[in-house]
Amino acid sequence: MKRGIPLLIVFFTGMIWLTQYFIPHYPFNKVMNLLSDWMKIIAAFAMVLGILNLLRVNFIKISRKHYNWQYSIILIIALLITIGFGCIQGITENVDTTILVYNSKSNEVISSSIFVAPAIIEGLKNFKPISSEDVEKDGKKETIQKGMMDITTKNGKVVKYTDSNPVKRIIVKDDNSVIETVIVKTGTVGHWIYKNLIEHLSSTMFSLLAFFIASAAFRAFRAKSFEAMLLLGSAFIVMLGKVPIGDVFGKIEIHEKIIISFPSIQVWLMNYVNTAGQRAILLGAAIGIIAISIKIIIGLERTYFGGE
């Protein structure tokens, strides 16, 4: 029960997945989607463990007043707010597009409708259609175009289209009526958090690499041995060959196909030597992965049990 059943489960799921690779016939062709769905479900349940662990570790930190316990409070608040709004509201962004026609003098709304009707679009300049579809309306075929336009906010400032901005355009017609297109993006709190917190934090964290790559190069590229020299040399050439500065050093053309310059050596290194090295790593690693996978399926490799 403790070991036998897991081994059986591993064997069967592994074998079913292998079989469906070669048999495109029913019922095997349905297995892939089915099992992938199951995996998603289990992952969702497993996530509960992670969140509980995160809460537990931080609550302990707060209750025992460990070093830096204040930040655990921030963490827990951020976590609970995101989960609360995220689970109740959802995390997607809803887009509603409406056209508003109103009198610019009295600010009285004349009519508003969803931004699809071709009749209204004709009067609009700079409308950029995104897609068009044929729809039957009262027995009549009609082409409905959906599109986007430049944004002009109320104070008359043109705002460039970006993902997070509402898109608007106001056109003043002769009779003082104003047609305004409003693409309202009613983002949920979860989506707002993603856009304004997580995305910025992620890309900033990613950008730290620019600093670290410089310091790593300074520290590690020392010609301590022949291998280190090769590492250093090829990095040196590729770095110079990649940027325009590398061209300044000129080139020696021996033959149409043999040109000695930083950019051309860079291309050669990347295309041939790098390919060879990467290929060997890929081959070796893949064989290792296959071997371990086979051992898992036949029940020889059991690290995932986490002990006996």
Binding site: M1, Y21, F22, I23, P24, H25, Y26, P27, K30, L34, M39, A43, A46, M47, V48, L49, G50, I51, N53, L54, R56, V57, I60, Y67, N68, I198, L201, S202, M205, F206, L208, L209, F212, I213, S215, A216, R219, A220, F221, L231, G277, A280, I281, L283, G284, I287, G288, I289, I290, A291, I292, S293, I294, K295, L300, T303, Y304, G306, G307, E308
Partner: protein
């Protein structure tokens, strides 16, 4: 409730769920959604199972199938051989010897160890390899009474790592020293995890850090911070894109397959060692296959040095060197989605006249097609193909009699496609080209083509 009764109850639930489920599963996947119930299900099941239009075996993957069985056989064979208990040589892996030293150093300095088994989930094999080595490191840490911190990026990895570390502490006889919170979940987010681990590193100042598993761009963020706090760093990954950073920033790096070999090396378990030898044998086989393949390719290249080196067809560069063949398929691009479709087509194309003399064009039935007109320097052809009706109709054969071609040639065959159902389709054709002489040495070609993965 006693544990035995609990087990039985759970087993019963499982069996019931399985019975209910299996009755409904295929029915749910069926097209006929309105009719449910055992009878409808049975009908659907039988109908779908004996549906003859779907093939039972995907022959295009036969090369993978053969490769899989050869590899599986070799590995399992050597696992059984190794059980006989012969002493087997395994070369040293530099990074592994350093593991014990690193743990020892941490003990001396009285600082903790940090261990990360990648940022991927349990279905990733590198993660499993990483967790395998974690068992060893945790045991050493337990022996030396050095605290170990294991931040995890996935919940499942966290819960397995907890078990592994706990087990290691039990093995050395100090279960009381195990701190459950030493293995902690941070976040699934790649850079969120990196931020969290960086924080842990600068605050806890580990004396040894281990990065063994799948890593992406965060590799250098972790390794540089680890170096900054003065830790001995041991890394290992099979991600070719991240290895350069580990090599430069860490003290020892397990390159690619060394990561997988490590757990066998540590455990010294005959079965594991056997698997390792099996892997070596597979690599040896690959080595030999590459040599033979290159030999074949060289021979073909020498024989065919007169053949046009390149034939440009509708601007898809199709290489004719050693007469490699690409299957024909009609891919339809309809409003952005690409899929295979039964599409009646009429095809018009032209080829330069001088090449018309040396090329025989055959249709799918192997019948020769004659040009409808020869204008200026071009020969024009008309072909009608109905892709859907017959499977064999999926290809047009262009036969090249290269013996008459004196020089290297490069020319275009221009396709024009008329849609009979007048819808917006873009049709891409790939073309099979066969050289006349190639048949003579077809075994050389077929060796190479065996490894061609048809997409």
């Amino acid at each position: 409730m006693s544990s035995k009764r609990l087990k039985i109850t759970i087993l019963c639930i499982l069996v019931m769920v399985f019975i209910f489920g299996s009755m409904n599963v295929w029915a749910a996947a069926e097209v006929n959604q309105d009719r449910r119930g055992p009878l409808a299900w049975l009908k659907n099941f039988v109908k779908a199972t004996f549906n003859t239009s779907e093939p039972w075996i995907d022959w295009s993957k036969s090369n993978l199938f053969v490769a899989f069985f050869v590899i599986a056989f070799i590995i399992i064979y050597y696992i059984f051989i190794a059980q006989s208990g012969k002493d087997i040589y395994i070369r040293k892996i530099a990074g592994l010897a350093a593991i014990d030293d690193a743990v020892g150093r941490a003990t001396e300095m009285g600082r903790p160890i940090l261990y990360i088994s990648g940022i991927m989930d349990m279905e990733d094999i590198q993660t499993l390899a990483g967790i395998g080595i974690l068992g060893h490191v945790a045991q050493k840490a337990a022996e030396y009474e050095t605290p170990i911190i294991v931040p995890c990026s996935r919940s499942m990895v966290m819960s397995t790592s907890q078990e592994v570390v706990k087990e290691a502490f039990i093995r050395v006889g100090r279960p009381d020293a195990y701190d459950r919170d030493s293995v902690k979940y941070i976040t699934d987010d790649q850079f969120g995890f990196a931020a969290g681990v960086d924080g842990i590193m600068v605050r806890e100042r580990p004396a040894a850090t281990f990065y063994l598993g799948t890593f992406y761009a965060e590799s250098l963020i972790l390794a540089e911070t680890g170096h900054h706090v003065g830790a001995i760093q041991i890394a290992g990954t099979a991600m070719p894109s991240q290895l350069p950073f580990f090599i430069t920033a860490c003290d020892y790096t397990l390159i690619g397959e060394e990561l997988f070999a490590a757990s066998a090396y540590i455990s010294r378990d005959p079965q594991m060692i056997g698997g390792l030898i099996g892997q070596d044998m597979v690599k040896m086989l690959c080595f030999v296959i590459i040599l033979i393949g290159s030999f074949c390719a060289t021979t073909i290249s020498v024989i065919y040095k007169q053949v046009p080196s390149k034939l440009v067809l509708n601007a898809y560069p199709v290489e004719l060197s050693y007469g490699s063949s690409k299957m024909v398929s009609v891919t339809v691009n309809e409003s952005g989605k690409t899929f295979e479709k039964n599409l009646p087509l009429k095809l018009k194309f032209s080829i330069p006249e001088k090449y018309n003399k040396v090329i025989n064009l055959l249709d799918s039935f192997g019948k020769k097609i004659e040009p409808v007109e020869i204008k200026k320097d071009f020969a024009f052809y008309n072909v009608a193909i109905d892709v859907g009706k017959k499977k064999s109709f999926k290809e047009i054969l262009f036969k090249v009699q290269e013996s008459k071609v004196k020089e290297a040639a490069e020319f275009d065959i221009n396709f024009q496609i008329e849609n009979m159902d007048k819808k917006d389709y873009s049709v891409a054709l790939k073309t099979k080209i066969e050289g006349g002489k190639s048949r003579k040495y077809s075994y050389l070609k077929s060796f190479i083509n065996f490894f061609d993965i048809k997409k």
